[in-house]
Amino acid sequence: MNRFDLLNKLQNIFKDNLVICNIGLPSQELYKINDQPNFFYMLGSMGLSSSIGLGLSLSQNKHVISIDGDGSVLMNMNTLATIGNRAPSNYTLLIIDNGSYGSTGDQRTFTDEDTSLKAVAIGAGCKNVVECSGEETANELSKAIDDQDHSYVIISKINSGNVKIDPIPLNPITIRDRFRKFIGIVKYL
């Protein structure tokens, strides 16, 4: 299973939640599979999907899923400590760990060598850290969302590999405003 297959399988779980999606191919694949207003596509700022989702979960009550990648988490690892100490129960960090920098040509990341993001997350203070296969991810993600009392970090170990795809044609303000309309903040659209 690769990222495209996994994102496809998770659509039913995404539909009632707020989804922050990592820059590059993850967002482009999610857009191609099933574009929705509750998806916030990152067009820049690699590494910050986990942080954006954390700020959003601290600011309103809907459940937030931050879709991140192993390369991006490695870039902003300090935020695992913030998540470990501050994440509310309406927050789930889903790390799609394919051991490679998918958007830049599948160069290996350190998770394909000796780094365990599970061990890092636990060491950073995250309490409910689950490492699972791509096939098990839907079930683990559903359980995390259903648990009203705890936040989760799910590390989904999948194969590398990408689908050939175009950039997202939406402009950033459209992404922003329709996302905030879904939450109920923007009234003018």
Binding site: G47, I52, S59, Q60, N78, R176
Partner: protein
Amino acid sequence: MKISKKIIANLKEGGVDFYLSVPCKLLANMIDILEKDKDVYYSSVPREEEGMGICAGAYLGNKFPCIMMQNTGIGNSVNAIVSLLQLYQMPVVFLVSYRGTPGEPVGAQGGMAKITEDILQTLRIPMLHCSSENDLEKISTFSKHAKVIESPVAILCDFNLMKED
């Protein structure tokens, strides 16, 4: 404590209700005030760039965020400011302790001080430079302005203004 109280009161008057900081000794009193304030959210964060991301999420969730940091933190955050906050036009207040300005005892802080305003100008970020107590009255209007123009703005607080607080 008087200066710090005034700054926080003016930020709150301007609508700011979500605060992060990467601590600085010049921000210590403000952090004390915010930790005891039940009306607003406050947390420290390990790094400024990450704080920009958390502020972006807070804005999406209808908060008006402020990140408190040294001017060195602007340098750590340039891509997040341009490719996230400015790209999506998100109002965030940067409350900056302006290390390396006159009164500063640590010479090494001078390097970032020399280029801080140039960086902010290059980024087209509106600045409010506070050198005296009277300047603090402008903070609430300046913060509201960030929401009107949907842009990050920076408030620079000089070393000598903060040091005796």
